[in-house]
Amino acid sequence: MAWVSMRLILALLAALAGVVIFLFTDSFTESYYKETRRVGKELMSLENTLNEIRADLLKNGILLYFNYDILNEELKRACETIERLYSDSSLKKGSYLQAYWKLLDFRKDFDKFVSKVERFVRLNGSIKNSALYIQTLHLRAFELFDSSKEEEKKVLLLLSRISVTVSIAKNAQDPDFLHDMSGYAEELQRYAKRYKNEKRALLRTISRHVRLFVELFPEYIEIFQDLTDDKLKQKSSEILKSYQDGSRRELSTIEYTVQIMLLLYLLSLSIVIYFIFRVEKENRRLDKLHTVLMKSLMTDSLTGLENRVAFAQEKDGLKSPVLILVNIDRFQHINDFYGTDMGDKVLVRFAGVLSRFIARSSESMSLYRLGGDDFGILYDASSTSSSIDEIVQRTYLFVENEEIKIDDITFDISISIGASDDRERLFETADIALKHVKRSERERTAIYNESLDNRSEIERNLATIRELKKALLEKRKDTVIPYFQPLMDMHKGEITHFEALARIVLNSKVMKPENFLEATKMAKLSGMVTYEMLKRTLEVAHGCSYTFSVNISAGDMYNQKDRNLILGLLEDAGESASKITLEILESEEIYDYAIVKDFIKEVRKFGCKVAIDDFGSGYSNFENILALDIDIIKIDGTLIHRIDHDTHAQLIVRTIVTFAKEAGFKTVAEYVHSESVLQMVRAIGIDYAQGYHIGKPLGEIECIKENLRIGRL
């Protein structure tokens, strides 16, 4: 933004500079040439007029008569020219000041010149007239005087001398010739006294003219020479020269200024270009960055796969999107055991496995890393004839047959797959299917359908839950019933113990915990379920040689009422209570260990044992758990499930067992679903085994029958 505004301002400045330069150059050069032409013309015409004046002064000096109008006209013209120049503003500018001062000087000189011309015209008139009259009267003297008379001849001779001298002096413009003239005039005056009347008057008049001539001639000559010399013209030429100098200076100033402005203009232009270039560069960089960021936003930095953001975008582009959600089983164990660096490496390699699968697959598929160890395969169902199930199975088999080996450690990766083609809730429903798989002991893949959806089931069975609540509150018989799953004592090789698993019977339908657990929790009925379960188990245990475990959650202990009810039951049960093991569920979610400790202390009074369920996966609070006074730890079933071929699961389990023995805890293996697993369990030295391979959960009656059948009871 700052760049843009800067660029804009600079661009505007550059444009402005351009306009200014244009206007400046245009107006200045135009006015410059106009002014120079005007002033130059005036000065030239002034010089011309001065020449004319000079010529006319000369003419006036020579000619007997002359039209003064011509001279006056020229003087007036010169004067007007000077006044125009004087008031011309362009002459008052710095460059022309010298010419202006000269003009001022010239103006004064010209005023003097005009006065001199007036004086000259006056003198010239007198001189000419007297010169004329001296000769005219000389001529008349010949009529009056008799040249034959000696005396009068002298007069005529004197007059002739005067005439000649005047003529020479005037033509030579030299007052030196007048040297004797004053004497002549006096002589003439003297002669005049000797005559009378006309003769006397004539001589007197001539004498006066001669005197006037002599008197005025030197000044006349001086003024004439003064006026006709070149001084004034030279001065006007100097003005012109000064003006031309000024004009050159002005021109070079204009050129200089224009050059500077042009330079500035070019500079600002190049700055603009530079900024445009920079902005372009910046834009390119930002574009690149944008691409990188978009990619990184869409890409998982660890595996280089596209991530959830990309997934969210791309799934919308498909007509019938199918998401296959692949999760690494017990990935947490790898992190826990080998550290997250190894975990990351496993993820990268696993991503590679899936990429290979996709590459080999005939369908066009995209692979995403959607969470920690959740990978998604997205494809368009409309582009393939294979069913979802086929593709899910293909995926499963492909991955199951691959093994990941890092630093000589072989990771036998097992996966769970949840898939969905629910366009609206693609990820969510695939996740539901995945969770279903996770909960299931045997299913490794699931395709979403509504029945998998806990939430929707709960919604559908909302009425049922209300009924359940009602039933539980009414203490209706046989609402909560225990199913029993046998545990084999590995040392004795026989069933010694049963885990009571809660079932809820509503409208003759038996519900498993996964279908009601959330609901009972929400309805705060879990304490009541535990109570019922304990009550029924105690009834079964009464007069029976087996021991039983009953699940209890920490939540049941926190609730004062439930807690008292449970403790009351145990108290009333008497000896049967000692056959009961309380299995603490979700022990990782305990937040108040003091209450749990206290509860354990209480139940021990009745001879109860205490077990921790699902030990092993994701335990960050070992210390707290182990600080509880417990007897048995139940190893996380997901670890056991694959223990027969998963070496690091084995490793973890071994570690747990070793540790449990050290700590004096008995161990239980859940999810023992095959003989090989059982053998491994035995080999590792786990105390008890539980699972389908040992025996599935059965109702009270069936359990008895079954055990009778196999001869256990």
């Binding site: 000619l63 007997l64 003064y68 006056n72 015209v121 008139g125 007239n129 000769q135 005529l156």
Partner: protein
């Protein structure tokens, strides 16, 4: 030495002095002159308006009569019948004068126009008085605004208008001008008068369009002319002794109809004036014949009454 030889010598000197003769030193008055009609019309009204004087009795036209542009009396009379000290020069053709006033103290007609208005023995007014009158006259206000485009009447515009009117006061088509233009011929007597006018040297000072009015010269060059303190000469400006009795050479246009003559009106007739000029400025007495011839020539200089003064002229 014979007298003829002497004559020859004198003539040869004479001729050599004159050298070559130039073009006619007198030029005819143009038959028309350019002027601004509106200004001139306004100027004419002002010229004849007695209210420009302090007591409302004297206008420019009082002393510059429309028949000859000058006054009939020796001196002119101003407000309250005050007598001036000079003979009013003709206003006709004054536009061709190189300066105005006897001593050339006014460079142009507009500046000249202020002088009589402000002279105590003439119109005895001032710019404020003139403006007070004009600015209270709605028709003047209207006319000035029309002509000068200003809301308020200014004194210099008053003078400018009068000057513009005076420009129109030219008297073309005198017989002499028509002779110069080759339209008519003059009588032998008149032509001889003109020649005499030149040979006597009158032409030295009386030349140009106005046959004078284009230089300063001294009156009484040879024989001193009486001088008094109030002579309106160059001396009154420069105070140079040399400038005493130096006047702007008067125009000889219409001279036959502008008696009396000279600044002091001392010559009642043309003959008298010619004789005086001969005595004072040439130094000798002109003969009766010479005067008659000169007079005959001078009479050809009378032109037509200016168009602007005729009926329907402006």
């Amino acid at each position: 030495m014979s007298p003829y030889f002497g004559i020859f010598v004198v003539i040869s000197i004479f001729v050599s002095t004159i050298g070559c003769l130039s073009e006619e030193p007198i030029s005819p008055i143009p038959s028309d002159i350019q002027y601004d009609t509106d200004k001139a019309r306004l100027g004419k009204r002002l010229f004849f308006d007695t209210k420009l004087s302090s007591d409302g009795s004297v206008s420019c036209a009082n002393c510059h009569r429309i028949n000859n542009g000058a006054d009939v009396g020796k001196f002119s009379y101003g407000v309250g019948g005050r007598e001036g000290n000079r003979n009013s020069p003709t206003v006709f053709n004054s536009v061709f004068n190189f300066r105005q006033m006897y001593n050339g103290s006014a460079a142009d007609l507009a500046r000249q126009a202020a002088a009589p208005i402000e002279n105590p023995v003439e119109m005895h007014n001032d710019s404020q008085g003139v403006l007070r009158y004009l600015r209270n006259d709605s028709s003047y206000i209207k006319e000035f605004e029309k002509v000068y485009g200003k809301k308020e009447i200014e004194y210099r515009d008053v003078l400018d208008a009068i000057a513009e009117f005076e420009k129109t006061l030219i008297t073309p088509n005198s017989r002499f001008d028509r002779y110069l233009r080759g339209e008519i011929d003059l009588s032998e007597e008149e032509k001889e008068g003109y020649r005499l006018f030149k040979t006597l040297g009158c032409i030295t000072c009386h030349n140009g369009t106005n046959v004078g009015g284009n230089s300063y010269q001294k009156m009484g060059l040879i024989n001193p002319y009486p001088w008094s303190e109030d002579s309106p000469d160059r001396f009154s400006i420069s105070k140079r002794e040399d400038d005493k009795n130096v006047y702007k050479v008067p125009s000889l246009r219409n001279i036959a109809v502008t008696a009396p003559y000279f600044h002091d009106g001392s010559a009642a007739t043309l003959e008298e004036a010619l004789a005086k000029m001969g005595y004072y400025n040439l130094g000798f007495k002109l003969s009766k014949r010479e005067i008659a011839l000169l007079k005959a020539f001078l009479q050809t200089l009378t032109g037509e009454i200016p168009k602007s003064l005729r009926k329907g002229g402006l």
